[in-house]
Symmetry: C2
Subunit: 139 residues, 2 copies
DNA sequence: AGAAAATGTTAGTATAGTCAAACAAATTAT
DNA sequence: ATAATTTGTTTGACTATACTAACATTTTCT
C-alpha cells in the first residue's frame, strides 16, 4: 500500500499544498520560511519526495504536488481540521494551542480514532443542545 | 526549567516505571523487550538519561529512576490514562487503537489541551446522563 | 569450581533530518 | 546589458536513534 511518510515529509507536503492554495505556486524559499528550516533542508526533502512520487520539482523552478502528493496533503489537512475543531470549538482550547496540537496529532492518530472523532463532532452538530451543554460545561 | 525529553527517551522512562511497578525492578533486557529495541540501544539511552539525571544504573545492575525521572514517568502516565479514557470509554475506540493513540499523543499534547480534556472527562463523570447520551450516540 | 547460558556493554555502522558555507542560476535594478 | 540581489543547490558535518557483532560479566547448571 501507500508507504508511510515521516512526520517531517508529511509537513512538507502539507506546506506545499497550503502555499499552492494561497499563492497558486510553491517555492523553496516559502516552504523554508513556513517550516522554519533552511532551504538546503527543503531541497533534500524535495528530492526524497520526488523520488517517492509525491512532488514535482524542476531545478530552480516551482514545486508542485503529484495527485498522490495532493491526496496525502488533503488527507492530513482533513485530520488537522477535525482535530482543531475538536480542541478549539468543543473543548475550548485557545486557537494557538489547539492548532499546535492538531498539527502534531494529525500525523499519528489512527484511522479508527479519527473516524470516531469525526462521528462525535458530526453528531454534536446534529444535536445542538448536547453541544451547547458540553460547551457550557467545559467553559 | 526541566529540559524537554524526546519521545524516545520519555518512552524509556515510562517503561522503566512500568517494570518497577510490575516486577519491583527494571532490567535492561526487559526494557529492550518491551520497547522492541536491542539492548545496546537501551544502554545508550540509559547513559543519556543518567547523564541528564533521570535514571540510576550501575553496570550490570538494575535500572532505577531518580525522583526527577519518576516524576516525568508519572506525568506521562497520567496523560496516557486520560487520553486512553477519552478514546476508549468516551469515543468507543477499541482498546488497542485507543492505547496506541494515547501512547503517541501523550508526548506532544499541550498542557492546555490536556487540562481541557481532563476537565471534559471529569465533567462527564459528574453528568452521567450526558455521558450516557454521548456514548449512545457515538456507539 | 568450572562450563554453559543468559544478560549487559562497547564499538562501529546506518539512516533521517537538520545546518552552514560555498557555489550556481535567476531576477531585479540601474 | 551588466551588476547587485535574491533564490536555489550542493557538499560536508552533526545529532539522535537504532542496529550488528564482538566482547565482558553474571547467573545457572552440573
Amino acid at each position: 500500500m501507500s508507504e508511510k511518510l515521516s512526520e517531517s515529509l508529511e509537513n512538507y507536503l502539507e506546506t506545499i499544498a497550503f502555499l499552492k492554495r494561497e499563492n497558486k505556486v510553491a517555492r523553496v524559499k516559502d516552504i523554508s520560511k513556513m517550516l522554519n528550516v533552511k532551504s538546503s533542508s527543503v531541497n533534500i526533502a524535495l528530492n526524497v519526495l520526488m523520488e517517492k512520487g509525491f512532488v514535482l520539482h524542476e531545478r530552480y523552478g516551482y514545486v508542485d504536488l503529484t495527485s498522490k502528493g495532493q491526496a496525502v496533503a488533503d488527507d492530513i489537512q482533513k485530520k488537522e481540521d477535525i482535530l482543531f475543531l475538536f480542541f478549539h470549538d468543543i473543548l475550548g482550547v485557545e486557537k494557538e494551542a489547539a492548532l499546535k496540537d492538531a498539527c502534531k496529532i494529525e500525523h499519528t492518530i489512527s484511522d479508527e480514532s479519527l473516524a470516531k472523532l469525526i462521528y462525535f463532532v458530526g453528531m454534536l452538530d446534529k444535536e445542538p443542545a448536547l453541544k451547547k451543554n458540553i460547551q457550557k460545561k467545559t467553559k
